[in-house]
Every structure is written in structure tokens, then in C-alpha cells.
Symmetry: C2
């Protein structure tokens, strides 16, 4: 897949990952361009997140991304590493350090070996290309596949690359995503397209309910394709975000099954999303999914724990299309539902009977493999 | 251990548990006595919880408890099963059905085989004894040991029995607890002793952050020992609750390690408890504990995700007494901390630097065994 015109990228190894896998990616723009960003709300936000937030609204020439180290909870040294990285990249790109953005992903609390990045940046920035794949590979951690997506926005295009894996929870998944378009748009228009799209996509996926320190979604606009209609741009941005979010859940660390939780009949769309997130966050329900057990009682329990005003007598629930609980009454059907749980993708429908709000949350099962991976401290 | 004078109990098999293990317990009082109760706030509260809430304030003669089935999310049939159970017990005890309380624990959403309870109640209530053990055993689910505790309240005594295992989260743990005292106290005084004690004990333990449909804590008072000073009673009730809560965490389903999370320097005691619960709920941190990894970054990330206004530059963190992060800066020490993680009990201290609120939350690690147990749908 190719970036829009005016965007080049690269991905190489700089030596942060002990196995020599690629761990340094750079995106270059031909000239300073407008961008928008949405970031984690975690108070322990990583040093690169702090830097990018401070530079919101100012044009950008390059983005430096490392995997294998989150540069989070790293104190003053972490902030200094960001300054050193942006200075090194700016020297190569002949721009101001404040025109360079940074993002990191990997284990938390380990000093970033910034010398490795400084040493490797000249090679990384020497011959960037129009293809996304090398960059997409360099930003992965425990991802098993790269995540890319592209959608048209009128005559323009929106292209996106993401990494996911674990520590995935709303606001946002532990994830980095980089979207670029050749549509002409200023930072305000880009933010107007990006923020609601993130709300409806990346903020509606949940793997382990752990909001990370590094979540960042960027949208860059080169402008070479001219103005797109704002609605076309917003739709294309949301389509790319939705596609990347679903790819992240399908490649969730240690997960075996993909779970689509559809909530209808909530007072508002936001309360529907909150109900879906509560189900997605239930360790007991997720463990049942892993075991192929259509344990709908754990779904109801998660809903009732999250919203104590819920009227159980109005609730109906289906798993795999099989009705299990209708208007507050269990109606059998668990053996039919169990048959649907053997599939790789499981759909849970909950009708709350309290309004017209609806939302879909994407989630995964809880597996012994997830526990094993995260006991080893790889992320 | 013996109940206070005037309290008798029993435990037998009524056939709900397929393996024939004891699953029916009854507590009898010589005459109707005052009691207090604190119950789950889950909107999907089980039928027995609904019954007990409706009878708060009225005297009680007997309590019927079954394990192996939660009678939760069971609709009208579940409510009818409670009516049938209380009627059957009342007929045997020659009292009013409204003087009988009920509690259930086990899988959710499965019709309660109430006929088995009705058939077995005559035998269960035929020859109750003053010892707690048979009752304590009959109310267990995946508990590996019974939980009992006793503390003096002046000349009186408070005795408690609990079951725990999984689905353990604040407000409250999935658990049932039955406390009885021979102190003389009315329902109001009992509630004044019980509610804050539950807030400081059962609401500060967390295994899997899944609040259950059945959580109930009862405190009964026979009065045979005469008046106790309210402070003595409150202290004894809290001591018994604290003891039982810790026993529940030490016997948590699938857990290998006991984790004590101590938060200091929070604006209030409640915000300290909330911070502790957020750490206790982090699947990533708990998986790290299981792997013996002192991954303090995951602790900070959990704190920062739960309270977005946290000032990281004021935070200090120790694991096993080893300083790892002081006033916002990582200071090494992970290998020393790793050595302390080999112990069965792990202590995490977080000083938030924002006030004088302190609280302790008890928790456990996340293990492959937990996932295996809960994939099998046993609870």
C-alpha cells in the first residue's frame, strides 16, 4: 500500500529490540503540513505524548517512531530523550525540532536508549519510500501482522497504519495509528474529522481494559489532491480508523476469538457504548468465551454492575443470534448458543429496552496465552 | 468454632452440586432477632438478594443458603423459588415466611432446582448444631478452604463465616458472609456497625473486578450477652470482616500470590481506596505478578488511567520495600524488586503526594489457572 503523494516513510532496526527486529520508523513530508492528533488521557502519559500534545496546531515535517520501549514513566530522562530525538531528526531534515513529532511503544519504565535512535536516524531517513509496509512493520510490538487501510475521500485518499496487540482499552487502545491524506485541510478541519472517528472506533475496542500511556492517533494532510468535502473526508477517516481498530482486535495479544458486542435500546449512544465496554471488560465473560461457554449470565452481571439503574425486566440478549434472555426471562437455548460459540467470531446482542441509543464494541476472549505473554513482561 | 449462644446451623447435600458435595446450609435462631445486611449494587441482583433487601428491618428466625446455583438472572421463576424456599423453611420452623432469609451462590442464569431444596430442608433443619463448620462448608463453591473468624466485643462475641473464590470485586466481592453476635443491638445499631466495616474490608478486596449478582453480608444479634458498647461492637465486626476478606483473597480462584496494595498521600481515604482498586483491577499488572515481574510501570499506568488528574511528578512507588520510582523519576532497583516478587505475599506501596488519605486494597495475581477455571463455566 502507498501513502498519499507527498508522504514517504521507512523502517529499520536501531537496536532497541534485543532480537534485531525493526524498531525505528520515520515518516517524512516534503514540506511542513497541518495535522491533528488524539492522545491517551492517562495521567502517566509517555514523554512523546506530552511532546506531541504541546505541538498540536503547528505544522509538521517528520515523525519518528520507535517500538520496543514506551519511553513512559521515564521522568526527566524520558523528556530529554524526546528533545534529543527531535533535534537529531531536524538536523537531518533541515527543519526546526518543533516540526518533528515522536511516538513510542513497548515496555514502560525502562530508560529509552536514545543513542541508538540518534545513531540510526541518518540511515532511516536516507532513502524513504512511498510504500507503508516497512514503516508499519517497524512500529509493531507483539503484533503478528501489520495493519494498514485505505479509503477514498472524493478525489483524495486517506491511508492509515496502526500497531496494536495488548494494553488495549477505550481512550484508547494501546496503539499508535498514523493516517495521512492528500486532501487539503487545516488542523481544525482535520481535528473535526479525527476526534469523532476515534470516539466511534478506537474508543470502542477493548482487549484488557488497561488504558495505555502511549495511545496516539495522528492525521496528516499534504493537500496535493485539493479540497475534499468535509463529510467525505470525515467518512474516509472514520472508515480507515474502523478498519484499523478491527484489525487490532483480530490480532489481539493471546486472543483466540473475536467478539462483537452490539448494544441497542440504550438511553444514548454513549451509554450504549459504555454498556458494551463493560461487557468487553469482564474477565469472567471473556474467560467463558475462551472456553466456548455461552455464559450470558456473566454478560448481564457485567451490564448490571456497570449501570445500577438498569431495569433487568426490559433486557433481552442473544448470542450468535440465539435468544437466551427475553424481556427479563431466561428462555433456555444455551446448547444452541454453545454451538455458535465454536466460531472464530462471536456476536452478542443486548437490547436494553430503554431508548434508541446503539453502539458496537469489539473485543476478544481472555486466554491462558494472554496471561503467559503478559507474565513475561514483554509489553 | 462455635456460633454465639442462640445460633445453630447445619450443612448437608441437597443434590444441586452434581458431585454430591454439600450445597445447603441453614442458620436457625431460637426466636426472631434483629439483623442488618449489605448487598451487591449490581442491577442484576439475584432473587434472594431482592428478597432480603425487602425484609431489611424485620426480625429473622432462619436463613437458608444454597451453593451450586446463584438463582440470578432467573426471572419470575427465580423469585418464585425464593417464595417456595422461605415457605418450606417457615413451615418447619413454625414461623412466618417473612422471617426467613435466603442467599444463593454459584453459576448465574440456570433455573434453581428448588424442589431439591424443599425436599432436603426437613433433614437440614432437623438437628442443627452450635458449630459453624458444617454450614461454612455447605456454602462454598470453588473455595478450597472454609473461612471463619471470631472476635470479642466486650463481654460479647462476633463470629463470622464467609465464602469467596471468584467474581471478587469491590461492592462487594462475590461472596456471602454471615456474622452473628450475642450482643444486644437493634437493626439500626447493627447497620451502623456493619456498613462502614464492609466499606473498609470487603469493598477493598478485588480479584477480577467483576461485581457479582449475589454479594451479601449479614449481621445477626441474639442479645443473650447483653449490651456491648457500640464502639466495641463496631470494632469486632470490622475485625471479623477484615479477617474474612483477607481469607477470601488468600483463597482466590486460581491465584498464586497475595498482593497488598497500600496507597498513601491521596486527597481522601476514598480516593486512596479507588487508586488501590484500580491497581488491583489491572489485568496487565496482575499477569506480571503471576510471572514474578516487578513491572511497576503497569502500576503507574493503572493509577494514571483511573485518575487523569494525577501529578506523576509527586508519585513514589516501592515493591517489597524496594524503591523503584521516587518523586516522578525511575531510580532502577528492578532486580532487587524482582527478588521480592518470589514471595507468596507482595506489598506495593504508592505515595501519591497529594494529601493524607490512605487505604489498603488486597488482591491476587492473574494466572493461567484462573482463565482455565473460568473458561469451564464453574461459577
Amino acid at each position: 500500500m502507498r501513502w498519499p503523494d507527498g508522504v514517504l516513510s521507512s523502517g529499520i532496526s536501531c537496536g532497541i529490540k534485543p532480537d534485531g527486529a525493526h524498531d525505528l520508523g520515520v515518516i517524512n513530508f516534503e514540506e511542513p503540513i497541518p495535522w491533528a492528533g488524539v492522545f491517551t488521557l492517562n495521567a502517566a502519559a509517555a514523554a512523546p505524548v506530552v511532546w506531541c500534545r504541546e505541538h498540536l496546531g503547528a505544522p509538521v515535517r517528520a515523525v519518528v517512531v520507535n517500538s520496543g520501549n514506551a519511553n513512559a514513566c521515564t521522568g526527566a530522562a524520558g523528556a530529554a530523550a524526546v528533545v534529543a530525538t527531535t533535534a537529531a531528526a531536524a538536523a537531518i531534515a533541515s527543519c526546526d525540532p518543533h516540526e518533528v513529532l515522536v511516538a513510542s511503544t513497548g515496555p514502560i519504565g525502562i530508560p529509552l536508549p536514545v543513542g541508538s535512535i540518534e545513531n540510526a536516524l541518518p540511515a532511516a531517513m536516507a532513502s524513504p519510500g512511498p510504500e507503508v509496509e516497512a514503516f508499519a512493520g517497524a512500529i509493531t510490538t507483539t503484533d503478528t501482522v501489520i495493519k494498514t487501510s485505505s479509503h477514498a475521500a472524493g478525489a483524495a485518499t486517506v491511508v492509515g497504519v496502526a500497531k496494536g496487540a495488548a494494553m488495549i482499552a477505550p481512550n484508547m487502545a494501546t496503539m499508535l495509528a498514523f493516517l495521512a491524506t492528500d486532501a487539503a485541510a487545516d488542523a481544525g478541519l482535520l481535528h473535526a474529522a479525527l476526534a469523532p472517528a476515534v470516539g466511534r472506533t478506537f474508543n470502542r475496542i477493548s482487549i484488557d481494559a488497561c488504558e495505555s500511556t502511549n495511545d496516539s492517533v495522528f492525521l496528516f494532510a499534504t493537500g496535493s489532491a485539493g479540497r475534499a468535502h468535509p463529510d467525505d473526508l470525515a467518512k474516509a477517516v472514520e472508515a480507515v480508523c474502523a478498519d484499523l481498530a478491527e484489525q487490532i482486535v483480530r490480532d489481539a495479544e493471546g486472543a483466540g476469538k473475536f467478539v462483537r458486542i452490539r448494544i441497542t435500546g440504550a438511553p444514548t449512544e454513549e451509554s450504549a457504548a459504555a454498556a458494551g465496554r463493560a461487557v468487553a471488560a469482564s474477565a469472567l465473560w471473556r474467560a467463558a468465551v475462551g472456553g466456548g461457554d455461552p455464559n450470558w449470565g456473566r454478560v448481564l452481571s457485567a451490564l448490571g454492575a456497570a449501570d445500577r439503574s438498569l431495569d433487568m425486566s426490559r433486557i433481552s440478549l442473544w448470542i450468535g443470534g440465539v435468544p437466551l434472555f427475553i424481556d427479563g426471562e431466561p428462555i433456555g437455548g444455551s446448547s444452541d448458543a454453545a454451538a455458535t460459540m465454536a466460531a472464530d467470531e462471536i456476536v452478542v446482542d443486548c437490547a436494553l429496552g430503554s431508548g434508541h441509543g446503539a453502539a458496537e464494541v469489539l473485543s476478544a476472549d481472555l486466554t491462558e496465552e494472554y496471561v503467559r505473554l503478559n507474565a513475561e513482561g514483554t509489553s
